[in-house]
C-alpha cells in the first residue's frame, strides 16, 4: 500500500550539535506502518506534545479556527500506535477580558480534547489562559499549574511561567523546583514541560521567562535534562549547556522566525497549503540512553 504521506515530507530532521532528532517509529505511527517499524527497547515509550491551540481565536490567519483543534485530535487518534500519554504545553485558549468567556472557551476546549483516545493528558497553562486572572479559571478546569509525574523511569516536571503576567516562575515555585530536583538521583532522566522558553530566545518579542535562568541553573547539575515548550508557534531547538530545549508548532497560526519581521504578527494563511506551519509532535523516549527522538507531524495528512 502506498501511504499518503511521504515520510520525507514531514520528518523534519533537526540537526543540533551533531545530534539528529528523528524517529522512524514516529514516522511509521503516522503512516500506519508500525508493524514493520517495531524494534525499540521494551522500556521505551512515546508521548505526544500538542501546543497553542488558542481556542476562541478568530481571524484571517486561520479560516478554520473552529476546526483545526478537532482535526489535530483526529490526527492523534489516527496514529497506528497510541502514545502512553499526551502533554499540552499551554495557550489552550485565546485570551479574553471576560471571565465568563474564558470559562466558556476552557469548557469547549476540554470537551474537544476529551475525544482523544488516550485519556492520560497533562495540561499546562499559557499566558493566554492564565495571565489575566493569575490562573484562577485554568485551575478550576485543570488543577495545579505546576506539578511532577513519573513515567517508566522518566521524571517529568511541569513548570508554570505564565500565571504571573510578568513571565516569572516566582520564588515559591523555584524553591519547589529546587527541592524536587534535589530529590532526584544524579543520573535521573528529567523532562521539563512548560509554555514559555526558559532561556532568552528573543526578549524583543517577549519570548523569554524573566527568571528562567534560575530554573536552568537548578537543572544544570543533572546531565540528562530535556525541555519541551510552546509559545512561539514553530519548531525551534536550542542547547543551553547540556540541556536541550525544543519548541513545538502551534495549532492555530504559525508565528514568524524571531526578528524576521518588525512585528510578531501571525504568518498569513496560505490557501494553497492550508494548515501549513501547524502540527504536533511525536516524542520517542529511549529511556536507557536518556534520549528523545522527535517527529513533527501535520494536522492534516497531505
Amino acid at each position: 500500500m502506498k501511504h499518503p504521506i511521504d515520510r520525507r515530507e514531514f520528518l523534519k530532521l533537526a540537526g543540533l550539535g551533531g545530534v539528529v532528532f528523528a524517529s522512524s517509529l514516529g514516522a511509521a505511527r503516522a503512516a500506519g506502518t508500525m508493524a514493520a517499524a517495531k524494534g525499540g527497547a521494551s522500556d521505551d515509550f512515546y508521548f505526544v506534545q500538542l501546543s497553542d491551540s488558542h481556542w476562541g481565536f478568530e481571524g484571517p490567519p486561520n479560516p478554520d479556527a473552529k476546526g483545526t483543534l478537532k482535526k489535530a485530535v483526529a490526527a492523534v487518534n489516527s496514529l497506528s500506535e497510541q502514545p502512553d500519554f499526551i502533554v499540552f504545553t499551554g495557550d489552550l485558549t485565546h485570551t479574553t477580558d471576560d471571565p465568563k468567556v474564558r470559562r466558556q472557551r476552557l469548557t469547549q476546549f476540554k470537551d474537544i480534547v476529551s475525544e482523544l483516545k488516550v485519556k492520560d493528558v497533562r495540561f499546562m497553562p499559557g499566558e493566554h489562559d492564565a495571565s489575566l486572572d493569575h490562573g484562577e479559571a485554568y485551575q478550576e478546569f485543570f488543577g495545579k499549574t505546576y506539578y511532577t509525574f513519573d513515567h517508566k523511569g522518566v521524571h517529568f516536571i511541569a513548570l508554570d511561567n505564565v500565571s504571573d503576567p510578568r513571565a516569572l516562575i516566582g520564588e515559591e515555585q523555584l524553591q519547589w523546583l529546587a527541592a524536587d530536583v534535589k530529590k532526584q538521583p544524579q543520573d535521573a532522566n528529567i523532562v521539563v514541560l512548560t509554555h514559555r522558553p526558559l532561556f532568552d530566545l528573543y526578549p524583543q518579542w517577549d519570548w523569554a521567562t524573566r527568571d528562567g535562568a534560575q530554573a536552568i541553573d537548578l537543572l544544570l547539575p543533572h546531565p540528562h535534562v530535556t525541555v519541551f515548550y510552546g509559545h512561539i508557534h514553530q519548531e525551534h531547538h536550542k542547547m543551553t549547556g547540556h540541556i536541550a530545549h525544543h519548541a513545538a508548532k502551534g495549532l492555530m497560526f504559525p508565528l514568524p522566525v524571531a526578528g524576521s519581521q518588525p512585528q510578531r504578527n501571525p504568518l498569513p494563511w496560505d490557501p494553497a497549503h492550508p494548515y501549513q506551519g501547524l502540527g504536533f509532535r511525536d516524542i520517542e523516549a529511549e529511556v536507557k540512553d536518556a534520549d528523545f527522538k522527535l517527529t513533527e507531524l501535520p494536522v492534516l495528512k497531505a
Binding site: T95, L132, P165, A167, D206, R264
Partner: protein, 114 residues
C-alpha cells in the same frame, strides 16, 4: 541603579549626576492597552534621558531588552527609567507584562543617532 550594556539605568529615581554630564532630556510616555504614545523615540548617543512612564488603564511593562532596561508602569504612578544610550541603532521596546489580546504588538522603537 544598575549598569548594563554600557548604560546607566534606573527605575523609580533619577540618580545624582556629575556636573560635567550632559543635561538629561525628559520624555513622557503614556501606555494604554495596547499602545505607547509616543511609540517612536529618537535619542542622541551619549545624552542621558529620563523616560517618565504612566499607564492609562492596567499595569504594564516597559522593556528595552537590548539595553537590559525595564520598568513596571503602575496606574496612578509615574515610573522613571533613566537611559544613557551608548550605541547607535534602532532598538525595540515592548510591554513585558501580559495585558490582553493585543499585548503581542504593544511595542515601539528607540532610534539612537550620533
Amino acid at each position: 541603579m544598575m549598569a548594563a550594556g554600557g548604560l546607566l539605568l534606573g527605575a523609580g529615581t533619577v540618580g545624582l549626576r556629575a556636573a560635567t554630564q550632559p543635561k538629561e532630556q525628559v520624555i513622557k510616555i503614556l501606555a494604554r492597552r495596547f499602545t505607547y504614545s509616543p511609540n517612536q523615540l529618537k535619542l542622541k548617543k551619549g545624552v542621558p534621558v529620563v523616560l517618565e512612564l504612566t499607564s492609562a488603564d492596567v499595569i504594564m511593562g516597559f522593556s528595552v531588552p537590548d539595553f537590559q532596561a525595564r520598568a513596571d508602569i503602575i496606574p496612578g504612578r509615574v515610573a522613571r527609567l533613566r537611559l544613557v544610550p551608548d550605541k547607535e541603532g534602532t532598538f525595540t521596546f515592548l510591554c513585558d507584562i501580559f495585558c490582553g489580546s493585543g499585548h503581542e504588538t504593544m511595542n515601539g522603537t528607540i532610534t539612537v543617532v550620533a
